[in-house]
Amino acid sequence: MSIQAIKDRKVKPFPAPSKPAEIIAFTARARRRFDPAAISGKLASTLVPPVIVVAIMLIVWQIACSSPTASLPPPSQVWNEAYDLIAHPFFNNGPQDIGLAWRVLISLQRVAIGFGLAAVVGVALGALVGQSIWAMRGLDPVFQILRTVPPLAWLPLSLAAFRDSSPSAIFVIFITSIWPVIINTAVGVRNIPEDYRNVSRILRLNQLEFFVKIMVPAAAPYIFTGLRIGIGLSWLAIVAAEMLTGGVGIGFFIWDAWNSSRLPDIIVALAYIGVTGFCLDRLVAAVGVFVTRGTTAKWEMDDDGLSETRPYR
């Protein structure tokens, strides 16, 4: 919760002492904003521990791989041999010789299409399963079995169906990331408090209005949990799928580097993949926080309040 919210709450209900309250709030805010010691202290406390850990890991790695018989390159060798990849993420020397950032963007584009489709179809199917007991009975067993199929097991089938590598990779992302979206949406919809349904019934909202105005916002925290798991899975799947389908994505780059024994390149690519996956996860989480407008944690579902409106037992 922001400082702004606290200030508003204090000031609004009591109009009389609003002036002094406002002055206090302003000075408090100003002190926060222009206090370099506090800011640098906070930065240090969040940045220093991971920096130390990474430094220790690099040192251990360097020592462990320094011997001439070591099978993996030490960080110093990675830095020297893959310097071009690290320093110039956006170079472009022709169709197969492009910077890692371009490759990541191409993979991200596939993820965007596949995951976007999975999000739309997953929320719709999840809403259906959560809303209708018969849809749940029919579809839930199917979903529970299909969702355990590993992503790459779909690849031969989708290659046969689409006869092209790019749509096949997109389909693999779609089929991988859709299950958590469906299941979480269904749970969210099933957990919509009976009172919200009653409100919509009294207002005579039609199906579409109920879906847009009650169901999606009420289930939003669950939906975004599903989307977050889904985007993580789809990033896992795209790298694996591209290794097999080829093209210019980051996954194929790793496979290509392995075939030409460029181990330092692989290590740099792994770092790119990890950072990108982390950013994707945070991005979906941030969108979730924005869409649910920070109300998620504060939702109260006082259970005794609902009991009287439930059927008599």
Binding site: K12, D195, Y196, I202, T295, D302, T309
Partner: protein
């Protein structure tokens, strides 16, 4: 004159695992326009079920609910409910919560500016206009219940149904809200049915008190008119003879003749 709202020989039973349990049996009641009626009874006597039947949220097993001689079989905005736990939508502000109701009920009839004025008028009525841009999580329980009342009133209902509206509030807030409801009732003359388990509240607010017997198969045990002039003031009434007599009658009904036996559940 025909009754405004008529509960005509209503039975209600639920099926649970092949077993039928009777909740309400032979409920007969007529309510006039502008009347304030309280329904009181021990917990589990089916008074909330009765309210849900009037609201149309549950279906009667036998008999009928008639509003202006038309049968009620589904929920609708002309029978607005104020829920015990306010059930405001937490992702909408106070204003947006009421707007959801107003734009649905008056979407085709009022212009945007008229709807805005109507929302603000109803917020003023419950003295919540100052908090219109807050979310439910940012206001107190009493304020939420005020907004819940404003939302119900904004639907311009024929009947206002209050389901233990003050049950979750502390005593002082409850008194404030009771005064607010009395004030609104005297200004708008809205026909109101309130579920409560608070004897003082029932006597203070109602024109008539409907006392329910204990379940299973609960029914109306007695209907007590409250012949107190309005406006009523709680401090003056606390020593008023009629008030005390009504209070005693309800207490006697609840605690002597229809004592709540927990073991019977």
């Amino acid at each position: 004159m025909t009754a405004y709202l008529k509960l005509d020989h209503i039975d209600k039973s639920f099926m649970r695992g092949g077993q039928v349990s009777d909740v309400l049996k032979d409920i007969r009641l007529t309510i006039d326009k502008g009347e304030f009626v309280s329904i009181i009874g021990h917990s589990g006597c089916g008074k909330s079920t009765l309210l849900n039947l009037i609201a149309g949220l549950a279906k009667v097993s036998a008999g009928a609910v008639l509003l202006e001689d038309k049968e009620v079989d589904s929920p609708g905005p002309e029978r607005a409910v104020v829920f015990q736990n306010h059930s405001l939508l937490p992702w909408l502000t106070v204003y947006e919560n009421i707007n959801l109701a107003v734009s649905k009920v008056f979407g085709g009839k009022k212009s945007r500016a008229e709807r805005h004025d109507w929302i603000m008028r109803n917020l003023d009525l419950v003295q919540m206009a100052h908090a219109k841009d807050k979310r439910p999580a940012e206001i107190s329980g009493g304020m939420k219940q005020r907004v819940g009342i404003a939302r119900a009133l904004a639907m311009e209902p024929k009947i206002l149904l209050l389901d233990e509206p003050f049950g979750a509030l502390d005593a002082l807030t409850r008194a404030h809200l009771q005064d607010a409801v009395m004030d609104i009732h005297s200004r708008l003359g809205s026909t109101t049915i309130m579920i409560t388990h608070d004897v003082d509240e029932a006597v203070l607010l109602s024109d008539r008190i409907v006392m329910m017997t204990n379940g299973p198969a609960a029914t109306i045990g007695e209907v007590l008119p409250v012949p107190l002039a309005r406006p009523r003031r709680r401090i003056e009434l606390s020593s008023d003879r009629t008030f005390l007599r009504c209070r005693e009658a309800v207490l006697k009904f609840l605690y002597e003749r229809h004592r709540f036996v927990e073991a019977a559940e």
